[in-house]
């Protein structure tokens, strides 16, 4: 490592997951001297995105320090919050490795697409074109996260894509859910009468107050929808796709979800959702960038040993390699927290499946970024599915990346098997056997299953002065819970400070203005002069060319 880190900070943040990164950014923003360190060589922890060849090497557990007996500290890391049940499958042949370096592929991507015979080596040669999220997130266009990005000016660092369609599984096939007004009217899946019913119902939900649904206080949203005499199709669209619920969702929750969905419509794109380009792993990095811009020290790949307490058992600092670094406060990501801090928490788990396929689930003229809400089937939990193509910057042209997530009931493979079998085919040879729709199903090229810990429980703070353990990922579609937790911890640490006020625009920045503007003017003149010369030269060359 290049030199030692400074040995004194206001705040040390351990782990570069989203919640930790938001807190680091907020603290730097108000002038605190922050060290943000991670034992990983990459940003994002359980929120990171990976290339194809690197994702199979992940293991969520923080390597335990071997020397904890010699150091007087509480060792970082615990086994509760690690990734488990990893299972990788290739559904294509190994392929020929010769001539498959990345350059030839980049030179002629068309050739690769036309030659649809994908092999493992061909995909691995494109490894760096993949940005595979451990836990992909969507953002409601008017949700808390998007508002925070804009109000803090962090939005400058990232680019987004709109989710271009919401899909559902209805009558044994995929259907596009009409969600905007124009969708509803142009949809062939709903009759004119249904269109009116749908618009009316959505309006009722949007304009409602809690009292309006008093009689449904202890009833389900499904019961409410049935009472509205809606058709089965409409109930399906509203319950499973727009409210993203199940038959058990309460009426109050259902209405709230409808509002959340509708309120975010019409701001960007045709659906209420945005996705960050190059993967969800970009988001923690954007907060870290803001933090660095406001002076935080960033150090990845650190040999983080543990938390040092003083003789009165108060927080003192950390051991990093052989160096002790002290700070008045520390924030630790859940996955990095010493066992003693988190042994009372039992995480929930999400079953995750990630797939590379050769075509879209529902092919169309243009490339879509699709959200498919698969209703619960055969007593399984509902599954959220995201399908993304090359326009998102997460996979190469000609391929699709499909993410599945559902609450874990057994193990990821079994939890998702039904859905995988329904949507995909595993080998090209099977195509003609069953006939009918099967032919159009995307072929699976690669599958990757794992189980990821989620902490939906907000109340896990133990009473440890100056030590703040923050949550890992949760199962919310957006980042709302993480923002809430980050803000909560920030306000506990610095009660009188503003949380992520707007960062200045470049035009507003004044740099050590002791020199007069004179210099600036001279330079600007020089620049203008040079531009002019350049232009003149261009004209001359052009004239010469013309003459020639």
């Amino acid at each position: 490592m290049e030199g030692e880190l400074p040995s004194e900070f206001d705040l040390i943040v351990i782990g570069t997951g989203l919640t930790e990164s938001i807190i680091a950014a907020a603290a730097s923003r108000i002038g605190k001297n922050v060290l943000h360190a991670d034992s990983n060589s990459y940003y994002g922890g359980l929120w990171a995105s990976f290339t194809l060849d690197s994702i199979s090497k992940i293991s969520g557990s923080t390597p335990q320090s071997e020397s904890d007996a010699t150091k007087e500290c509480l060792t970082f890391g615990n086994n509760n919050f690690s990734i488990t049940n990893i299972k990788e499958e290739w559904h294509v042949s190994e392929g020929n490795i010769e001539k498959l370096n990345e350059c030839t592929i980049e030179d002629d991507p068309q050739q690769i697409i036309e030659n649809e015979n994908w092999t493992k080596n061909k995909l691995l040669a494109l490894s760096r074109k993949f940005n595979i999220d451990l836990l992909p997130k969507l953002h409601f266009a008017r949700g808390e996260f998007v508002e925070l990005l804009i109000s803090s000016n962090i939005a400058r660092y990232s680019e987004f894509r709109s989710v271009s369609r919401v899909l559902t599984w209805l009558n044994n096939k995929l259907e596009v859910v009409p969600c905007s007004r124009s969708d509803v009217f142009s949809s062939n899946n709903v009759t004119v009468v249904e269109k009116r019913m749908l618009m009316k119902l959505l309006n009722v939900c949007l304009d409602s107050t809690d009292q309006d649904f008093a009689e449904y206080e202890n009833k389900t949203f499904h019961a409410f929808l049935k009472d509205q005499k809606l058709t089965a199709n409409l109930i399906h669209y509203i319950l499973y796709a727009i409210a993203m619920g199940t038959e058990k969702t309460s009426c109050r929750d259902g209405v709230e979800r409808i509002k959340r969905f509708l309120n975010s419509l019409g701001r960007y794109g045709k659906t209420p959702f945005l996705y960050s380009m190059y993967g969800s792993g970009e988001i923690p990095q954007a907060f870290c960038r803001l933090s660095a811009v406001f002076g935080a020290t960033y150090a990845l790949s650190q040999s983080l040993q543990g938390v040092v307490m003083d003789d009165k058992n108060n927080y003192k600092g950390i051991m990093c390699g052989n160096q002790q670094i002290n700070s008045s406060k520390i924030v630790i990501g859940l996955d990095k927290a010493p066992k003693a801090f988190v042994d009372h928490i039992k995480p929930l788990r999400l079953s995750r499946g990630i797939f590379i396929t050769d075509r879209s689930l529902l092919e169309s003229e243009k490339e879509h970024l699709s959200l498919l809400l698969f209703p619960p089937m055969n007593d399984k939990n509902p599954v959220t599915i995201l399908e993304m193509g090359s326009l998102t910057g997460t996979c190469p042209k000609g391929l699709y990346l499909v993410h599945m997530m559902t609450d874990q009931s057994n193990n990821p493979y079994d939890d998702l098997k039904y859905y995988v079998d329904t949507l995909f085919t595993k080998s090209a040879e099977n195509v003609n056997i069953e006939g009918g729709d099967v032919e159009n199903r995307p072929q699976l090229l690669w599958s990757f299953y794992f189980s990821v810990p989620v902490s939906n429980d907000f109340n896990f703070q133990k009473d440890l002065p100056n030590i703040f353990v923050c949550s890992g990922p949760d199962s919310d579609l957006d980042y709302d819970p993480s923002i809430k937790i980050a803000k909560g911890i920030f306000e506990k640490m610095y009660p009188d400070s503003e949380f992520l006020p707007r960062a200045p625009d470049p035009e507003e920045i004044v740099i050590e203005g002791d020199e007069s503007n004179e210099n600036e003017e001279i330079l600007q003149k020089d620049l203008d002069e040079k531009c002019k010369q350049q232009n003149k030269q261009n004209e001359i060359t052009e004239a010469e060319n013309n003459e020639a």
Binding site: R128, Y157, E159, L265, Y298, K530, N535
Partner: protein, 215 residues
């Protein structure tokens, strides 16, 4: 970031031609003078003991070429390179990069080559890369030969200049050379290239949500 093209209006209403906006990132070892080059180019200033620029997400500067106004959005590393912790997100969607080394320090040249390799693997395929051998004013302590760097740049298709943020030598020139080489059409950010996503801005609120769906 997409190459945002627009038409500028002069105060007298006359059309000035295209405006192209490009993201340019600076890369290189700590203390080679990345921030100094930017400050020299953007503000015309030089400080011998430059502190890192607190609070600047990026700085902007505009140059005019023919009928085109090229607006650079110049990103500095914010010190994240110091402990080898520069986030990949930093150079996403960049259309141009200046990789800086210090001509008095051979190690920084080696590190610059690593950055060039990283950019060629990770950044947009058509990114314009310039190599800047900075601190030319200290040529008497030179450890990296001009010819060596020049040959390397030629071999890898990079623009190359030796610069001095202190004397301003070649500072404007290197940015101008980049501006010249950048594609100034709307296809510059074509799919496969870096970024053509949506930037979220305050004013970008569109019609009120309810109106869109339910009226």
């Amino acid at each position: 970031m997409a190459n945002r093209t627009g038409t500028a209006q002069r105060p007298n209403g006359q059309t000035q031609g295209k405006i192209c906006q490009f993201k340019l990132v600076l890369l290189g070892e700590s203390a080679v003078g990345k921030s100094s080059l930017v400050l020299r180019f953007v503000k015309g200033q030089f400080h011998e003991y430059q502190e890192s620029t607190i609070g600047a997400a990026f700085l902007t500067q505009t140059v005019c070429l023919d009928d085109t106004t090229v607006k650079f959005e110049i990103w500095d590393t914010a010190g994240q390179e110091r402990y080898h912790s520069l986030a990949p997100m930093y150079y996403r969607g960049a259309q141009a990069a200046i990789v800086v080394y210090d001509i008095t320090n051979q190690d920084t040249f080696g590190r610059a080559k690593t950055w060039v390799k990283e950019l060629q693997r990770q950044a947009s395929p058509n990114i314009v890369i310039a190599l800047a051998g900075n601190k030319q004013d200290l040529a008497n302590k030179r450890m990296v030969e001009f010819e060596e760097a020049h040959a390397y740049a030629d071999e890898h298709g990079l623009l190359f200049m030796e610069t001095s943020a202190k004397t301003a030598m070649n500072v404007n020139d290197i940015f101008l050379a980049i501006a010249k080489k950048l594609p100034k059409n709307e296809q510059a950010g074509a799919p496969g290239g870096g970024g053509q996503g949506r930037r979220l801005v305050d004013g970008d609120t569109g019609p009120k949500a309810a109106g869109n769906c339910c009226k």
